[in-house]
């Protein structure tokens, strides 16, 4: 008869314990798998206003770079074509996927140091996906991402030495620099899911294999900021949307 | 502080110079300066290095081991930015400290006239109690580096009447030959000790100094205080974390009196060793010894003594050991001293006139010590207590009562630091102290009990 209340207290505490879900990363498993993905969202990102002239990059500090670019190169912070199509914008699903988990792809993404510039200027990868860093130049570079939500590292890379990196957490986007060549700049966007794209020369993008539903699509640009819109797509529907970035005052 | 000096002067003016006293002998300028109670907590260093007071001080002004190491390194952190060239040109290493307070002093056996104003009415012993607001003297303190590995300190202290004294004044050559075991200090300075009277946490007239550092037996002419700032040169060395320290000093035989020379030199040696006890902290034991001489008479011209020509020099010594014990938030300081003065010094007789010695005269000896306990609740609150005693083991004149001059002092208090920043300091201080000295009541020869209570704001900027 003694301490009859004890088991109830313990069980009560146990219930609270599980309810809090305190073991880190112990997410609930997804509910029933969504219907077959066949929907897509595509479109174009445009720049409105006068396209600012890129600045000139003088590469004479490193003779090996100057050899490849005798007249120098230009900055890539705002790259747009004649129709205002904005390149290097990361377009991605920022909401609407619930708690779905996605497998990490086996194939690696690639970023190249070529002509003493990063190619591509913006690369999007999956969390824990291998990112191959290639030095295709005759000079030594150093690869130095400066993340807020991932590990920061800084590695010297002589010509031809293979290097790989992975980023464990979602972050949009990680600035990357080379300290040896201070004009070099790129961005790595890391995603937990596969629904993203980086706009190409004419500003166009396509994100496919979506299940029907309501999503928030966000567009991110390194200089012009972020903008988003909400869409609803039905089964096998392809929705076309447009993002517009305006010129910043004073730029 | 200043009040203690005033009290002593009042006693003397009552014409009881022949009665043997053992309260602080304020005969020399050096002793007077110790009554002004300057203490060191130096916001100038906090400004230079962007560190808080609590980094170097257990509870300012008491140093912790990091602060003691900083001091032993010549007020240098050894991070490559100690030389003055690294400071802003507007930085000047100066600080001020002062204390406005309210206090109450009481002495239970003072010779007073039976009828106030009428000396012919006869005298009785009565209790005299005074109280009121007051201010301490002003500490002006400047110290730092002249150059990498050349440090200095200058302290012109003002007593509460505004009169200035040169208390500390030295240049120090640090890390000679690239070794932290060789540091040479020349000038006027406090003797090297880890129990620094200048950094003591007590402020009252009764409890704010160490009796053992100033004790002189009744009738003894030796003018010396272990806590007085001496004139001379000191060689000091320490290990990289300051756990092992030694120092050797050669001092003028005149208790640090400025503007006067002496005919002999004194020597002081000190050694201490720290060790860690698991779960408790850093413990230290130290041993020290001061051996000096004092003249018993001077050459004269027309009957007037010629300064610096002391003759008939006889010796005295102060030796002992101490320990600093840390047990978590508690820390204890234990201290022992053995004092010994030559028979001529002890009886105030010229060494060339031994016939003037009383029958059976001997060199007086005494033993003393204290236990001081602190509880540092956090860097902004510290509780304090101290018990100190000095006991004569042999009187200079065997006719004197055996324990005449023995003293026992109890002190309790606390300090609360409402602000703790890297620029200035403020402490609220409350303290009570009570001293019993044996046989020194002026008329009856009974025990004299004095007490002090103080509360005030100690500020430092």
């Amino acid at each position: 008869m003694r301490k009859r209340w004890l088991p109830f207290v313990i069980l009560g505490a146990l219930a609270v314990c599980f309810a809090a879900g305190m073991a880190p990363g112990a997410g609930f498993t997804a509910k029933a798998a969504p219907p077959a993905p066949g929907a897509a969202v595509k479109g174009i990102v445009k720049f409105q206003g006068t396209i600012p002239k890129p600045s000139h990059i003088d590469m004479s500090a490193d003779p090996k770079c100057a050899q490849i670019h005798p007249t120098g190169a230009t900055t890539e912070d705002i790259v747009a074509d004649g129709n205002g199509g904005l390149q290097n914008v990361v377009v991605y699903v920022s909401d609407g996927l619930g708690d779905r988990k996605f497998e990490t792809p086996q194939e690696a993404a690639v970023i190249e140091q070529k002509g003493c510039m990063y190619k591509p200027h913006v690369v999007a990868v999956r969390a824990n996906q291998e990112l191959k860093v290639v030095n295709a130049d005759p000079t030594t570079h150093n690869i130095h991402p400066a993340p807020n939500n991932n590990r920061e590292f800084n590695q010297t890379q002589p010509p031809g030495l293979p290097l790989s990196a992975t980023f464990a957490r979602e972050e949009i986007a990680i600035p990357v620099k080379c300290n040896i060549h201070p004009w070099m700049r790129s961005y790595i966007a890391v995603f937990k899911h596969p629904y993203f794209a980086v706009t190409v020369k004419d500003g166009s993008f396509e994100i496919g294999n979506l299940s029907p539903g309501t999503y928030t699509i966000t567009a991110w640009h390194e200089k012009l900021g972020m903008t988003f819109q909400k869409i609803t797509i039905g089964e096998s529907e392809t929705k076309t949307i447009e993002f517009v970035f305006k010129a910043q005052p004073g730029s | 502080m200043g009040l203690r000096w005033v009290k002593e002067k009042v006693r003397r003016s009552m014409g009881i110079a022949t009665v043997k006293r053992i309260t602080v002998q304020l005969l020399t300028l050096g002793a007077l300066l110790s009554a002004v109670q300057p203490s060191y907590a130096i916001p100038a260093f906090a400004r230079k290095y962007n560190l808080r007071c609590s980094d170097c001080h257990e509870a300012w002004p008491k140093l912790n081991n990091f602060g003691q190491t900083f001091k032993d390194q010549g007020y240098q952190l050894m991070t490559g930015r100690d030389a003055p060239i690294y400071q802003q040109t507007s930085y000047f290493p100066i600080m001020f400290r002062s204390i406005p307070f309210w206090h109450r002093e009481s002495d239970n056996r003072v010779a007073t006239d039976l009828v106030p104003g009428n000396p012919g009415s006869g005298q009785v012993e009565s209790r005299v109690t005074t109280s009121g607001f007051d201010i301490s003297g002003l500490d002006i303190w400047t110290a730092g580096t002249l150059y990498k590995n050349i440090s200095f300190a200058v302290q012109p202290a003002l007593d509460s009447s505004g009169k200035a004294h040169l208390l500390t004044y030295y240049v120090r050559f640090d890390n000679l030959l690239g070794s932290r075991w060789l540091n040479l200090k020349v000038g006027k300075f406090e003797l090297d000790t880890l129990i620094s009277e200048e950094r003591e946490l007590f402020l009252t007239n009764t409890g704010g100094f160490y009796q053992n550092y100033h004790f002189t037996p009744p009738g003894d002419r030796t003018s010396f205080g272990l806590g007085d700032h001496q004139l001379g040169a000191e060689l000091l060395g320490h290990s990289i974390n300051d756990y092992t320290r030694y120092s050797i000093s050669v001092l003028n035989s005149n208790d640090g009196q400025v503007g006067a020379t002496a005919s002999t030199y004194d020597v002081y040696g000190h050694f201490d060793q720290g060790f860690e006890l698991p779960k408790m902290g850093l413990q230290r034991i130290g041993v020290y010894g001061y051996v000096g001489q004092r003249p018993t008479f001077f050459q004269t011209s027309g009957g007037a003594p010629i300064a610096g020509t002391g003759m008939g020099n006889r010796s005295f010594s102060r030796t002992g050991l101490y320990g600093l014990w840390y047990l978590g938030k508690f820390d204890f300081t234990t201290f022992y001293l053995h004092g010994q003065d030559n028979v001529f010094l002890g009886n105030g007789v010229r060494a060339d006139q031994p016939f003037n010695l009383p029958p059976g005269a001997a060199g007086p000896t005494w033993n003393g010590g204290f236990v001081e306990a602190h509880y540092t609740y956090n860097p902004q609150l510290i509780l304090l207590s101290k018990f100190e005693t000095v006991q004569m083991s042999r009187q200079a004149n065997p006719a004197t009562r055996k324990n005449l001059g023995d003293v026992r002092v109890w002190t309790v208090g606390y300090r609360w630091y409402p602000i703790m920043s890297s620029r200035a300091g403020l402490a609220w201080h409350q303290e009570y102290a009570r001293a019993v000295t044996v046989g020194t009541a002026p008329l009856t020869g009974r025990d004299d009990v004095t007490s002090s209570f103080l509360m005030g704001f100690d500020f430092d900027f």
């Binding site: 313990i10 880190p24 | 974390n241």
Partner: protein, 261 residues
């Protein structure tokens, strides 16, 4: 206790409530974050801030800025770039201080105090919970500093583009030098290799070797561990040492810090 209670109690204990008490292990010392917190409040808070983010009251007056522990990026490590330092790395940095900065050598604190501080500092970033420290990189024995080794080091200094920051003579005035910023965006200068000054993370040839292979995370100084073989790194160390004027080099070698206690 009744059977039901016993089972419930066992289930409760297997809940796996994560322990938020941090500990550190340095040699045979165990440090405790709880004790470290009181020490941090006394010694560290004024620069590193109450939240360990390097935004203490004195931070605006300091250059370089105090370390932001929440980013878990540390300069002085024995582990590869991008990985966490070991407890001993943090302990050594606390003891040695960081030369030419506002970080004093805290060696006068007891060993236990320093171990406790390491444990507390680790609580500022969740990374210390989530991943183990990197595996310390090995420093092989140093081969003799022959003129050939110095010459090979000179070639490496050229090919590895060290001169772009440190300058052709190592004086810290290379073409990229004025563009450099640390990872928080504050300007930072490359080390003047000719100055004979102590390195930030400790002296001696081994210290220089270690800096080269681990890189100083949070600064533009990269890691060479993938790019160079160990003997090449020693060549580079010998060349760097030859840049210091003979007098200061010997003096700084002689002052190489003793084994940190």
């Amino acid at each position: 206790m009744m059977n039901g209670s016993r089972i419930a109690l066992v289930l409760l204990m297997s809940c796996g409530i994560p322990s938020f008490s941090q500990e550190s292990a340095i040699g045979n010392l165990t440090g405790h974050a709880k004790s470290g917190k009181a020490l941090y409040r006394r010694y560290c808070i004024t620069c590193h801030g109450a939240h360990g983010d390097g935004a203490g009251e004195n931070a605006p007056h300091l250059d370089p800025k105090p370390r932001d522990f929440t980013r878990s990026t540390f300069k002085c490590r024995s582990t590869p770039s991008g990985t966490l330092p070991t407890d001993s790395d943090l302990y050594d940095t606390i003891s040695r201080g960081v030369y030419n900065s506002g970080m004093p050598p805290w060696r006068p604190l007891t060993r236990q105090d320093r171990a406790d501080l390491v444990a507390y500092i680790k609580t500022f970033s969740p990374r210390f919970h989530e991943e183990p420290p990197g595996t310390p990189l090995l420093i092989p024995p140093e081969p003799p500093a022959s003129p050939e080794s110095v010459q090979r080091g000179a070639e490496l200094f050229q090919n590895m583009n060290c001169w772009s920051c440190h300058g052709k003579e190592g004086r810290g005035n290379g073409p990229s030098a004025l563009t450099l910023t640390d990872s928080k965006g504050y300007p930072i200068v490359p080390f003047d290799l000719t100055s004979g000054m102590h390195f930030k993370c400790g002296d001696s040839s081994r210290g220089a070797f270690r800096d080269l292979i681990t890189g100083l995370d949070g600064t533009p100084m990269p890691s060479f561990t993938d790019a160079l073989k160990p003997e090449q790194v020693w060549d580079l160390v010998h060349f760097i040492e030859s840049l210091q004027s003979a007098g200061t080099r010997e003096a700084s070698q002689a002052k190489a810090e003793p084994n940190v206690k």
